[in-house]
Every structure is written in structure tokens, then in C-alpha cells.
Symmetry: C4
Subunit: 207 residues, 4 copies
Amino acid sequence: MNSQWNELAAIKRELAARDWFPGTSGNLSIKVSEDPLTCLVTVSGKDKYKETESDFVLVDEDGRPLTDQGKPSAETVIHLEVYKKTDAGCSLHVHTLDNNVISELYGEKGSITFRNVELIKALDIWEEDGEFTIPIVENWADLPKLGKAISEKIKPDTKAVLIRNHGITVWGRNAFEAKRHLEACEFLFSYQLKLLHAKAANLKEVL
Amino acid sequence: MNSQWNELAAIKRELAARDWFPGTSGNLSIKVSEDPLTCLVTVSGKDKYKETESDFVLVDEDGRPLTDQGKPSAETVIHLEVYKKTDAGCSLHVHTLDNNVISELYGEKGSITFRNVELIKALDIWEEDGEFTIPIVENWADLPKLGKAISEKIKPDTKAVLIRNHGITVWGRNAFEAKRHLEACEFLFSYQLKLLHAKAANLKEVL
Amino acid sequence: MNSQWNELAAIKRELAARDWFPGTSGNLSIKVSEDPLTCLVTVSGKDKYKETESDFVLVDEDGRPLTDQGKPSAETVIHLEVYKKTDAGCSLHVHTLDNNVISELYGEKGSITFRNVELIKALDIWEEDGEFTIPIVENWADLPKLGKAISEKIKPDTKAVLIRNHGITVWGRNAFEAKRHLEACEFLFSYQLKLLHAKAANLKEVL
Amino acid sequence: MNSQWNELAAIKRELAARDWFPGTSGNLSIKVSEDPLTCLVTVSGKDKYKETESDFVLVDEDGRPLTDQGKPSAETVIHLEVYKKTDAGCSLHVHTLDNNVISELYGEKGSITFRNVELIKALDIWEEDGEFTIPIVENWADLPKLGKAISEKIKPDTKAVLIRNHGITVWGRNAFEAKRHLEACEFLFSYQLKLLHAKAANLKEVL
């Protein structure tokens, strides 16, 4: 479990440096065993800009703590749904300004699709006219309901889900891949917003 | 007093890393004793991006210095009003671009209210349709008058006040909570601005 | 080869600090010998925010690896075209939000030209009414085709090429100059976007 | 001279951390003696994100080097005009996106004036309805002409001058004050731009 702890701590440190845990928000997990399913998940309510020896707690497939570092994040249920539905080995949930804006802008449509932009290759889309879609779910206050809503949106090639006015949940087969997917998604969100504003302002007409 | 000094120094270091003290602006305090009321407050006019042994001075309930590190911030009166009116243990005042823009946009309305956004949970709003309101006061040059204007806006559930074209004063029962509230407020200000611009530009029509 | 390795590692570190390698994107190279042409180039698919002993691999003029650090970046062909067509000693390719937005806004025009802005001096344009042009090519999925499209756009005074919805390739006679050109280009892209938005919003009318 | 060297090196380090020297741009100076006038000024063309033992060179009142660290910045003439016309002890010249945008937006008006914003206090404007004005000059390629144009704009209470599409020159009686003025000016530029965009987009109507 030591190596997974260190991998998760390294990712937490990097995402903290990007300021992606405002107001103690966000939660991260890494799978420790497949059968039975166990994972390390961030402890609830902590300041994720700081590092301590009780940052993560091991939980079972029902989210019950197996070690005594503290109370698992209330959103552990979402991480568990991801592990049950996909081959993910690591799952990341963060709140950023642009993932929130995109989740609200495209919320009624229920998803956002990216195409014709190089960075979708970071999500393993290599075809010349390939596209990458992220489903968007409502931000149900009831967490098991939210977990189920996310689970229902997960198709074989899904790599991330947006929760409206809340944030992104993104995963990969391992920590390296989950972080690559997250960085790419955040770039795509910010790029899309900049392009939409350029289009809405008719920038081409004032070149 | 050593532990409070260290806590306040740690927060000052973190907010400095966010570049939230432009032009020596901003001031911070932490309560040291309840009865009589004393608190450590930032010394006036210093570059808060640097750390020195005279960054903070202990003051009494009237703002008079009890130690000889230097002159207390001129806005100490605001911190004292917060401690007298609430159960705050730490109070933070910073100038950011977005808290200034929001204070001006919503200044005439006298307050801003956030709802339907996950991050208000960082301000302990847990109800499904809960909302979080920050009152806005005019930027009176007379500091006791400003302190009083802020004091009058503080209701039992108030956690922050905006001063128009000036900045935010935000607090919590301790340093951890005050910082969590500040990070959340700044996220909400920036998010609100981004959403308003998206709406004003009719971004949904150019999706 | 040690000194070139260290120079390239230093540039990679600096560009990583600017967050210019989202989702493992970007690739860098430095020329090691002129005849026969060899260069160190980033290994494919690695997280460029981390430093390892296998970050770069030496390749020959056809892009074949001469050392065993790993597989060279798939875009090595572009770096080689630059070395064959110019006196470059170092070539940098990065994805940023603003270089992507500019590449899309000006894509149909096929180039963007900067004038009347001090920072073009960083690109060695010293005449009072001098100008600096960057050609823009389509983002061909076929990499040799993309390399050739870039090569065809390179005139004697070209210092950078934009690839549409993809990123910039920029070079200089050495690592110092390549980095200076890159920093200047990114400033110019962001400045142009800010000016276009100011113009489109008629900001002068609301002064 | 050692203490001035260290002060200037400290400011250079802080401004570099803010990314205010893109493409080797920017130059800084600190006065060493009053009569005859000598100052340390940045050496021309160096990467200011790096620290070396030849970052600064001592010059006389005509800009001639008195030590052998290298060639003084071509814009040394501007720093000397500031020292001759004011009581400045330190002068800073940097290029930022927002100081460039403001210089262009307000260029025809010839100046920009700030009022009703708390941060002008960092420029020693304490009156309730005080205001702070920065003159703007054309970006003459001829540097002595540019120096003279700047000199002519300097009134007793002037603390900064903008050069159109180029950057800001700002000063203070010492390094601490010069940096405070610079941070405040940059905040004011960015704030003004955000307010103008909010106004142009009629954000108040979509609250």
C-alpha cells in the first residue's frame, strides 16, 4: 500500500500546486486491490494544500474505512462507482473555474464534445476526425444518487464525467494516466471557453 | 501566543503565494485571548511578501499595541469589530481583482447571493437549495465609521463582508476555517464573473 | 553531449514551471552535431513536469534513435525539418491556450503579423516600423506531411510556425535564443487577443 | 555598492517570479550615489529569469559603464532621466500584458487617471476623493528622444509613466517604495480593464 500512498500523495501535491483544491474541495483515490476492491481515498474536510500522515484512508467496496486515518471523503461513493464500472486504477475529482463554467453552459445539452483539437490525443483519440465526449450530470445533493447518475453515464470509452456547477471526475488505468486525462480535460475546457468568447465577440471581424 | 503567531504566519505565507497582498495591501489577525479581548494583527505598511520578526503586533480591544513590533494596521478596528460581533478566532482582509470587481458590480444592490454551486458547502451551507449572502458596504475613508458599517451588516450567519472597490473581510472560528472561507469566496467571485460574461455574450447561442 | 543535455533539461524545467506541457504534450530538441545531423529530442509520451534520466534520446537525421533512453517523440520529424532548413540550434514545440486560439482565429488567413509593439524586438526586429510574421499550417495528422508543410513555410527570416488547433514550433540559434523567441511569441499572442477583445467590445467608448 | 546590488537582485528575483521579464525584456536600476550621479542598472539582453554575477553594471550620469560586468541596458537613459528629475532611488521598467493594453487604450488621451479605488493609497493618495494619474508617451524608437519625452511628463507628484505598446517605468525613493508602486499600478491596470469589460458587456443587466 506504501507505493500507492506515495503515488497519490505525489498527485495531490501537483494538483495543489495548480490551486485545484479551493476551500478544502476535491477528493482523490487510488485502487489498492481488485478483489476484494479496496482503495485509498482522501480524508474528509482537510486542507489539501498541506501534507500530513493522515491525508488518505483505506476503504472497502462499500466505502467503509479499513484504517484509522479519519473519515473518508463523503464523495467516496463516486470513486467506488468508477472502479466498479471501468478498468480505472486512479480517480480524481477537482473543482476549477472553467470546469464549472463548462458544466453549466453545456448542462442542458447533457454533454460536451471536443474535436479538431490536437490535445484530445492525450485522451487516446488518435483518428484524424476523432472526437471526445464528456457526459454531464446534475449535482444531486444525495451522494449515492449522484454516484448512480455518474455510473449510468459511463460507457466503455468514457474517461471523465462533469457534475453541474460542481466539478470533474476523471480517471485512468493508473495515476499517470488519470493525471494526463485531467490536465488534458482542463486545457480543453479553457480552450473551448476562449474560442466561444472569440466567436461571440466576432473577433475575426476586427482582425 | 507563539502558536497563534505561527498560525498567522503560515496563513500570511500562503496568501502571499497567491499574490493577494499587492502594494503592501491586506491585513490579517488572530485572536489570542477572549476576555479581555486581545489579538495579533499585521503591522502597518510592511511588504507582506516578506517574513520578518515584526510582522505582527499584539493589540487590546481598543487597538492599542501591547507589544513593540510596530504600529498596528490602520484597519485593526475592522478586525476588532468582527471579534466583538461574532465567534471568530481569525479574520482576513485581502484585495483581489475579482473581489473588487464584484464589490463594484453588486455595490448598489448592497449584497451578493450565491446558490446552486457546490462550493458554498465550504461555507457550511449544506441544504439542497441553500444560499450564501455577502453584504457589501461603502468604502468609508473614516475607519471607525467603516468598522461600524461592517459591524452593522453582521448577522449570526454572516461569514464575510465586501468593501466597495476595496476588498473582502472574512473570518472563521479558527485560522483553518477563515482560510477555507476566503478560498471559497474568491472562487465564487471569479465563477460568478465568468458566468455573467458567458451569459452577457450569449455563449449558449454559439455553442 | 552532456552540455546540450543540461541545456535542454534547464529549458524543459522552465517551460514546465509555466505549465506549458499539459497532458504530456509538447516536445523539445537541441542540435548536437551538424554533419551528420544529430539532436537530442524528448522521449515520447512522458510527463514533462517530471525529471528523469531518460527524458531525451539522441536521434540521427532520419529520426532514428542512437541511444536507448526510449522512443523519440512522434513529432521529431518537425524538429529535423527545422534543423535542415535553418541555422537553428534548438527547437521548441508547446501547446498553450493562446497559441491555440490565435492559430484558429488566423488559420484561414494563413499567418499572423505583429507590428507597433515593443516586444517584437525580442525577435530581432529593430526597425521603427518593422513587423514580425508567423505562418500557420493545417494540423495534418500525417506527421511527415505536417513536417513538410512546416518546412515549406520557412523563409530565411522565419522564427516560428503555428500549427492550427495544435501549438507553436519556434527555434533559435541556441537554447537561449529559442526560449527568448518562445516567450516573446506567447506574449504577443496573449496581447493580440486582449487587444482584439478590447476593440470588439468598444472599450474606448466606455472609458 | 554591495547593499544596493543585493536590493536590486532581490527585486529582480521577485519580478521574475511574477513572469514580468518576457523575452529578456525589462530593465531595473538603483541609485548608488547622488553627486556625482551613479546607479546600478541591468546588463543588456540577459535572461532576467536567471541570476548571475554580471546582472548589473554601475553607470555614470551619462550612462557610461564604470564597472566591467557588460553593456548597460539600452534604456539606461530613461532611468537616468528619472533620477535627474525626481527624488527616486530606484526605478523599474517592465512589460506586462495589461500595462500594454492600457497604454494602447488610453494612448490617444495621453494619460490614465484612477479614483474611487482603495489601492491608490499604495501610491500615497490618502484624500477621500483623491486621484492618481499616469501620463502615457509614444514609443519613440530613438531612446534619447524617448527619455526626453518621459522626462517632460514628470511633474512633482508623478510616480510612473506608461510607454505606448511597450511598458511601464515606475519609481520610488527606495527599492521598497518602487516595488510597492509597481505592484499597485499593475493591480490598477488589471482592475480597470476588468471594470471596462464588465461595463461594455452590460453585466449589471444580467445579474
